[in-house]
């Protein structure tokens, strides 16, 4: 399967003449990359994706795929695969007919359609369900059909709009693995829209964090997590202690805070709550007139502290990430 680069060049989209959904966004997505657009609802991530797909026409700026300017190419000629949150399967067609749809539109000969549909269904482990209708399938199965339908046309680009959002947690994690594995196997460029930071961190090669129509930061998951550039990114990704006092603001991840005896402490405080998370415990500690979040990983024995206990907090200055103001 071939893959293609995607480039959004200073793309702006306004709705109803006033709501700026996407504001001068520039993105370079590499060929074969798993690229996530991450942000809260209304940040412009879906609109960006829909402009790549061709459902929305940018007010200004251009969209390039594989080095070609496709801004004016209609949706049905863009040769992309897309998976929707609602799956958007054709309810009046069988699983096989759903998957065959894109091939039929391309006038692929019938025997070849049958072969490729079978292969695509095998790929998503749905062999045997060809004659079912979408309404007779579970959510996970529907998601797989949607995936097979999008991939069977061998698109250069696969667009996913919160594709796992409707699945329960366990199934979602399983599908995350499967999707990632499939993407790597096929080498397709995948643009993944999500508001779930854990999902983005787990699956992506790179992430663009968006807020209010703008891209706040683009980077690999580790980079985004460990070196958030803005206060928004720091706050949106995982739990964070924002240190606003002092001349320049900084951010400190809870796991970088150690709970130490009061004597060795940088700050003295009192445990407010202690949430047992299984592999770790998350403490809320009142200290110095505010609340700190501290995560203690359990390696070996737990050092149980309960609400009301006096604790000391300590961290290294190098773990404080400076934020742009």
């Amino acid at each position: 399967m071939t893959s293609a680069t995607i480039k959004l060049d200073c793309v702006t989209k306004t709705f109803d003449g006033k709501v700026v959904a996407v504001d001068a966004v520039t993105l370079d997505i590499r060929a074969g990359e798993f690229f996530s657009l991450l942000g809260p609802s209304g940040c412009g991530k879906t609109t960006s994706l829909r402009m790549i797909a061709g459902f929305e026409m940018p007010d200004s700026g251009r969209v390039h795929v594989g080095g070609q300017d496709i801004t004016d190419v209609p949706v049905h000629r863009r040769d992309m695969g897309m998976v929707f949150q609602s799956y958007a399967l054709f309810p009046h067609r069988t699983v096989a007919e759903n998957v065959a749809f894109g091939l039929r539109m391309r006038d692929v000969p019938r025997p070849e359609i049958a072969k490729r549909v079978a292969a695509a269904l095998a790929q998503v482990a749905l062999t045997g369900l060809e004659e079912r209708r979408p309404g007779q399938l579970s959510g996970g199965q529907q998601q797989r059909v949607a995936l097979a339908r999008a991939l069977v046309i061998e698109p250069r680009v696969l667009l996913c709009d919160e594709p796992l959002g409707a699945l329960d947690r366990k199934l979602r994690q399983q599908m995350q693995f499967e999707l990632k594995e499939l993407q790597q196997r096929l080498g397709v460029t995948l643009v993944f829209v999500t508001h779930d930071q854990e999902e983005a961190l787990a699956m992506s090669d790179r992430i663009a964090v968006m807020n209010k129509g703008r891209v706040e930061q683009v980077g690999a998951p580790t980079e985004i997590y460990e070196r958030p550039r803005t206060r928004f990114v720091a706050d949106f990704i995982g739990e964070i202690n924002l240190l606003d006092d002092g001349p320049c603001p900084g951010a400190l991840r809870p796991e970088k805070i150690r709970l130490v005896p009061v004597a060795d402490a940088r700050l003295e405080g009192t445990v407010e709550t202690a949430n047992f998370l299984g592999g770790a415990t998350l403490y809320r500690v009142a200290a110095g007139g505010r609340t700190y979040l501290a995560r203690e990983t359990h390696s070996g024995e737990r050092s149980p502290r309960a609400a009301g206990d006096a604790v000391g907090l300590a961290w290294n200055d190098t773990d404080v990430v400076p934020l742009e103001s």
Binding site: A53, F55, R77, M82, F84, A88, G102, G135, L159
Partner: protein
């Protein structure tokens, strides 16, 4: 040893619900039952209890040329109205739901307005305008009048389907390479079809049973069945009327069942 089943407490609400439904059913079906009794009873008036059973009135209905002519005419008109109102109503609904038209609320109200107006006024107004514009009262004028009344039914059911329509399904088709026309025929049309045809069934029945609008628009020897029955009733009120009603009901039922069979009104989609 298995446990004895737990005794379900008597659920008053459930019983009342069941009772109410049975009552409603009886309320809806009782008139039909009365008509049937009248149609099978030999006396030319409603007598209860019935004094016997005869098919005489059915025979009279089928033997009377005026009834037969008007019955077929009514069926023919209703079939035309079904087709026309499905096409017009369906197209209107799509335009209203999808067209991004200015004044959409106004347009919707406008197309629905034949439902708000007493049909007798619609009939009279059409009659007047037909005569004034020199059209006279051609058959197509009557069909158009029925269509006018029937379109809102198709419009309403189709709009309801379109309202719940997940447009992502159409987007999925277009991103898979379907041109707008193919999206319409491959996806949109099959999915709104149950709504359109449910409206079509209403349209058929509205036309077949139409009296007030037809009243002014029928021509001598071109009267529809309801008009003929109404006029027949003024002079000969007998069981033929009831027989005609039974035949109408059965025909309407047959058409609904046929359409159901043909098109499958029971949507396979949760729309």
């Amino acid at each position: 040893m298995s446990m004895p089943p737990n005794k379900q407490p008597f659920d008053l609400g459930k019983a009342a619900y069941l009772g109410l439904n049975l009552l409603l059913l009886a309320f809806l079906l009782a008139p039909i039952a009365i008509v049937l009794v009248f149609a099978l009873n030999p006396t030319p008036y409603i007598s209860f209890p019935p004094v016997g059973v005869t098919l005489h009135w059915f025979d009279k209905f089928f033997e009377t040329a005026d009834f037969m002519r008007s019955l077929w005419l009514s069926l023919w008109i209703a079939a035309c109205v079904l087709v026309l109102s499905v096409v017009i109503g369906g197209a209107c609904a799509l335009a209203l739901a999808r067209g991004n038209l200015p004044g959409r609320a106004f347009l919707t109200a406008f197309f629905m307005s034949p439902l708000m107006l007493p049909a007798i006024l619609t009939g009279l107004a059409l009659f007047q305008s037909y005569l004034l514009s020199g059209i006279g009262r051609p058959l197509w004028g009557l069909i158009m009048a029925h269509t006018l009344i029937a379109v809102p039914y198709v419009l309403r059911t189709t709009l309801a389907v379109l309202h719940n329509f997940d447009r992502r399904i159409e987007e999925a088709a277009s991103v898979l390479g379907a041109s707008p026309a193919r999206v319409f025929f491959e996806v949109t049309l099959p999915l709104i079809q149950p709504g359109v045809f449910a409206g079509g069934v209403f349209a058929f029945i509205v036309s077949f049973d139409q009296f007030p609008v037809s009243l002014f628009l029928v021509v001598p020897k071109g009267e529809t069945l309801p008009v003929v029955l109404f006029n027949y009733m003024k002079f000969d009120l007998d069981g033929a009327i009831a027989a005609a009603s039974m035949v109408s009901i059965l025909l309407a039922l047959a058409v609904v069942l046929a359409l159901e069979r043909l098109i499958g009104l029971k949507a396979y989609v949760k729309l």
